[in-house]
């Protein structure tokens, strides 16, 4: 890493405009992330229309701010309401909410803010160190490596999804199928357009992101609108942390910033899995593990450091390979393509302003978040007390405007409603939506890489076994599919084995 580049990045990030965009991004992210039910994908998708016409660096600075702002803000509702704002902060509620119930909500919020800030900042340093190295490796990648990488991303996200792997795979396949709609890039053949001129260019990713996530989440919000005790605002108490407490959480924060970053880089994992892994491993490490779940500050700091670190980690494959590893970064990629930047190993040379500008802006954004979340959080959290009926109506209109501002015709709005209904049913029947959006975004790129590879080899599939990296990636994706299938079998064996030995002991 050279310092000139970072200084250049700060020159980009510290222009008045970009400071403003970083601020708007993290503020919007914090607020949307705080609202239970609306996750980072919805947050980014809702903000995308604002980025039209911006220069690419500013657009990504804004979007990245929304992303890590949402993960930062999600913890607030986890702590105050036991209603996680996003799935990445579910583990935060385990110890955060008990603390709030003991009247220490302020302290919990402060710890979450500090852990998030440290996790975010440490991981940006790591991102800065790792990314150029990754880009150097990736520059030699050909179509077979890219195809295998994307396949690994899809199989990993499917096998790491909650619940049934078959359902996650179906979701991913459906995403790929929807991506085949439109004009084929190579031959110009019209596929599945049914004669409609609106479908010729395929379906815009924003329609999928807003429909499958924001609108579908609104559906669940409608059903839960009367449940939580919204409407009464309580005093959060003092925000102060003692020196001993600071000492106690410094270990977990350091450990889980690192762990979170690594998990964020890996395809398919991301903030949710990182926060759960961190919570569980910290609990296992702790001497006072029995107080976990009853308001242990280490149990709060660990997942908070981890989920924020994972968000910067997720930028490594996105920026250096141009391949998103999660649903959220897939939407970010879509947003980047709209403003005319193709991330990938060449981005460091072709668009250093975007690359280094975003990294530098993350330092600034995290600082903003700390300022927003520490002194101002009691005021910002009032947003949770906006009447839900009003909030729901406003979000619906935002989604509709967002799509209208891309397409300027109502056909796409009907399509948006269709995907909203589809997303709602997918949630109801436990089909995970992130594999769908990732597959949809990767679909076109995967097909292109696959066909390029076979054109080079004149139709022979053996080209996929010629490069060692490709082969390794293909084997890894195969294993990521096999593991969830054999996991129940192993568990069954173990159980029967345990029963067996147990039975012997009894007799």
């Amino acid at each position: 890493m050279d310092f000139d580049s970072l200084i250049y990045g700060f020159q980009v990030a510290l222009t008045f405009e970009n400071i403003l965009f970083a601020f708007i991004g993290v503020l919007a992210g914090t607020i949307i992330g705080m609202l239970p039910g609306l996750g980072p994908i919805s947050a980014i998708a809702i903000m995308i229309p604002l980025s039209y016409g911006m220069n690419p660096a500013s657009a990504l600075i804004l979007m990245a701010g929304v992303y890590y702002g949402a993960v930062f803000g999600g913890s607030t509702s986890s702590i105050l309401l036991n209603a996680p704002g996003i799935s990445g902060t579910v583990a935060t509620s385990f110890d955060g909410y008990p603390l709030a119930k003991q009247g220490k909500a302020g302290k919990a919020l402060a710890i979450a803010a500090i852990a998030s800030f440290c996790g975010g900042t440490i991981s940006v340093v790591l991102l800065m160190l790792v990314a150029p190295f990754m880009a150097d490796v990736a520059i030699s990648f050909g179509p077979t490596e890219y195809f295998a990488l994307m396949l690994l991303g899809l199989t990993a996200i499917a096998s790491l999804s909650e619940g049934s792997t078959v359902k996650a795979l179906i979701s991913a396949t459906m995403g790929l199928i929807v991506a085949t709609i439109g004009m084929d890039q190579q031959t110009g053949t019209l596929r599945f357009t049914f004669g409609s001129p609106y479908l010729m260019e395929g379906i815009d990713f924003l329609i999928i992101a807003l429909g499958l996530f924001a609108l579908a989440e609104v559906g669940s919000l409608i059903l839960s609108r009367n449940k939580q005790g919204f409407g009464k605002s309580e005093n959060v108490g003092s925000l102060k942390i003692t020196r001993n407490e600071a000492k106690e959480i410094s270990g977990p924060i350091a450990r889980h910033s690192l762990l979170g970053f690594v998990l964020g880089v890996l395809p398919g994992a991301g903030a949710t899995i990182a926060s759960f892994m961190s919570y569980l491993s910290e609990k296992r490490l702790a001497k006072d593990s029995s107080t976990f779940g009853k308001g242990n500050i280490k149990g709060l700091a660990a997942p908070e450091a981890s989920n924020n670190a994972a968000t910067s980690g997720a930028f490594v494959p996105l920026l250096t390979l141009g391949i998103p590893g999660s649903g959220t970064t897939a939407v970010l990629l879509g947003a980047l393509l709209v403003v005319g930047v193709q991330p990938g190993p060449l981005m460091l040379q072709d668009h250093p302003d975007v690359f280094w500008g975003v990294i530098a802006s993350m330092y600034i954004g995290n600082l903003f978040l700390l300022l927003l979340n520490l002194p101002l959080i009691p005021y910002i959290s009032r947003i949770l007390y906006i009447p839900k009926p009003m909030l729901i109506s406003l979000i619906i209109v935002f989604c509709l405007i967002g799509v209208y501002a891309v397409s300027f015709n109502t056909f796409h709005l009907y399509l948006l409603v269709f995907f909203g209904v589809l997303g709602y049913f997918m949630r109801m029947y436990a089909f995970p939506a992130p594999p769908f959006i990732l597959a949809f975004i990767l679909g076109g790129m995967m097909e292109q890489a696959f066909r390029q590879a076979l054109t080079i080899s004149n139709g022979s599939l053996t080209i996929f076994t010629e490069s060692k990296i490709t082969l390794l990636l293909l084997i890894l994706s195969f294993f990521s599919l096999i593991i969830p299938l054999i996991r129940p079998i192993i568990r069954k064996r173990q159980r029967s084995h345990n029963d067996h030995t147990h039975g012997k002991g009894m007799s």
């Binding site: 229309p49 604002l50 039209y52 016409g53 909650e162 619940g163 049934s164 078959v166 359902k167 795979l169 179906i170 396949t173 459906m174 790929l176 199928i177 085949t180 084929d184 190579q186 031959t187 110009g188 053949t189 596929r191 599945f192 559906g219 669940s220 409608i222 059903l223 609108r225 009367n226 009447p387 839900k388 009926p389 009003m390 729901i392 109506s393 406003l394 619906i396 209109v397 509709l400 405007i401 209208y404 501002a405 300027f408 109502t410 709005l413 009907y414 409603v417 209904v421 709602y424 949630r427 109801m428 029947y429 436990a430 097909e447 696959f450 066909r451 076979l454 054109t455 139709g459 129940p488």
Partner: protein, 150 residues
């Protein structure tokens, strides 16, 4: 309803869908000079979905419970909301952004149970105007003007 039977119903639906998709894929026109033509991926995906749907039919190890079924009254509400959104889209370009949005926001918020009509009206009006003006004059994204003169 039993989760297993629900899964089976979904699986049959998906099998039908993949068959339809496969039929359409086989009807795609041929392009003589491509080594991998545009029908290869759709055919592959169609078969993959078919296999996965059959897999879902026999899938037993489902751990996560399905999302809560909405009560009948709430279901009617959801259908009503979708209907209102469709009506909004239909009227958007005819009547214009400002008027439809004010009406939509007011009616939707009321429908979902918010009773203070003064606040509701104020929010609906100010939100619609602020969005309309800022999109049209700041972002240069023109929302439908409709029957209003500005």
């Amino acid at each position: 309803m039993n989760l297993r039977t629900t899964n089976r119903k979904i699986s049959i639906l998906l099998i039908l869908f993949s068959t339809l998709y496969l039929t359409l894929s086989f009807q795609l026109p041929k392009f003589p000079y491509a080594i991998v033509d545009s029908d290869v991926l759709p055919k592959g995906l169609g078969f993959l979905l078919l296999v996965l749907s059959i897999g879902l039919f026999f899938d037993k190890n489902e751990k996560k419970k399905e999302g809560k079924q909405a009560a009948k009254k709430e279901k009617t509400l959801l259908v009503g909301i979708v209907g209102m959104i469709l009506l909004y889209i239909f009227l958007l370009e005819i009547v214009g952004f400002v008027l439809t949005t004010v009406a939509f926001l007011f009616a939707m918020t009321r429908l979902l149970g918010y009773e203070n009509w003064k606040v509701n009206g104020l929010v609906a009006l100010s939100f619609s105007f602020v969005i309309y003006l800022s999109f049209n004059y700041l972002l240069n994204i023109y929302l439908p003007q409709g029957i209003l003169p500005f």
